[in-house]
Amino acid sequence: MWYFCSPRKIAFGEEALEALREVHAKKALVVTDTTLLQLGTIQPVLDLLKEEDIPFVIFSAIQPEPAIPPSREGAKLAEQEDVDLIIAVGGGSVIDGAKAIWVFYENPDLDIAEVFPEDPLVLRQKAGFVAIPTTSGTGSDANWAIVIKNPETKQKLSLAHRELIPDLAIVDPQFTKALPLSLTAATAFDALTHAIEAFTVEWRNDFSDGLALQALKLIFEFLPQVMADKDNMVAREKLHNAATMAGLAFGNSQIGGVHALAHSLGAVLSLPHAQVVAVVLPHMMRYCLSEPIIEQRYAEIAYTLQLVNTLDAKGAHTLIDKIEEFRKSFDLKTKLSDFGVTKSLLEEKMPLIIEFALNDTGSLVNPKELNKEIIRTLCYTMF
């Protein structure tokens, strides 16, 4: 037995924000970050809340690669203001940080590390949750996951609970209109990785397979179009849909070794998530390729994407080559040293990188077993 879970409603496409009018609330907490606030990206949400006479307060202290303390602060604000709706407007960091606010608001004494899928988690007693992604990457708007850093241990916690799936996801391309191309490419690579891992990890299933393949088709077709013309809103809409579909896919399957290692590298070396995912992806794919079932699965992706005409092993290699070609053409970083990481720093931090990577649930379900030596080798290969 397995489950397929999703938000109660996903509003997508042009003017999807209108779906927020259907939500009844006496007061909302709008969670975002300072950049989006300054850029005015969240203004359409604020305007709509004003039109609907829903009072709101803004919490904008969520940082990139979110940590627990700001979310605790956000929960205090939610408590002071007695809100009954939390609206996350931002990328993965904001949505994950807002989910953590929701958890703390409803469970002030809970150690968030104890959130476990099969244990009770009280939510929706005080507030509902709406997610509005402003990047086409995270997928957190449509799934049960939170990735949040514990500053005491430096570890990124990957938590999951079905109660954490937003009530409403608003996947409106207008929020990605001003997204710089560099971020568009990096976050799309995160979505691409979600789909590839959802399709290949040990927990893959029929439902996640379908979503993952369609997400990949959309990303491969429309990411180049957006990169060629950042104002192509049709392509941006398709890319935005793809990210949410990939989020549904991995939320109902799992992420794998790419994310396990990227979480670890991101936490230990303070690297931005989406960009480090793009570095790890082809290396982990090559490592997993020796598993016949995975070679077959990569080949199936390549065939679906019409990268090859026949369903055979050649497709698996073509897929990885194509991903590397994409990465290069979109000016994404390809090595750890591109982030300024030095070899001595990598060596110094290696024990912690290995420990965090191997104890990430993504490692547990990776299609090919990971161990200390493999993580070390991959890190040096990526250097």
């Binding site: 590390a113 476990f116 927990w203 104890n359």
Partner: protein, 138 residues
């Protein structure tokens, strides 16, 4: 030597495996682990009555095991991992992993789950080591 699962002999072999060459990966992954378990193998159409393994794991060493036939005599432990006999067989054969087993409601974990999740690799290696024992199933 082939041993029956579940049995006292199997449990002794398991302790030997964890502490020996077969358990090297577990020893490494569990070097910081402190905590004892009850593995409860619940009766189903193949197993007549519940059986319990007591396993004391400490810093990459399996310090003590005990085969408990009467569940009432089981000691208090930090963790309990329990499931039906047929699910244990699937776990040992690698058909399900220890975390997915919980999510599929084939197993129940009692105790500080966050601590177990932080040691996911050690949990996986506990199962990998069990797979190395030549076992006969009911």
């Amino acid at each position: 030597m082939v041993v029956n699962f579940p049995s006292k002999e199997w449990l002794i072999k398991y302790q030997e495996a964890l502490n020996g060459e077969a358990g090297k990966a577990w020893q490494e992954a569990a070097k910081d682990w402190e905590g004892d378990f009850l593995f409860v193998i619940e009766a189903d159409d193949k197993l007549e009555k519940d059986l319990t393994f007591y396993i004391d794991l400490w810093h990459g060493e399996c310090r003590r095991v005990e085969f408990i036939e009467d569940p009432a005599k089981a000691p208090q432990t930090e963790f309990q991992y329990r499931g039906k006999y047929s699910n244990w067989v699937d776990l040992i054969h690698g058909k399900i992993d220890p975390i997915k087993g919980i999510l599929m409601r084939k197993f129940k974990l009692v105790g500080n789950k966050a601590k177990v999740l932080r040691a996911a690799k050690a949990a996986q290696e506990l199962v990998n080591t069990a797979q190395k024992i030549e076992s006969v199933f009911l």
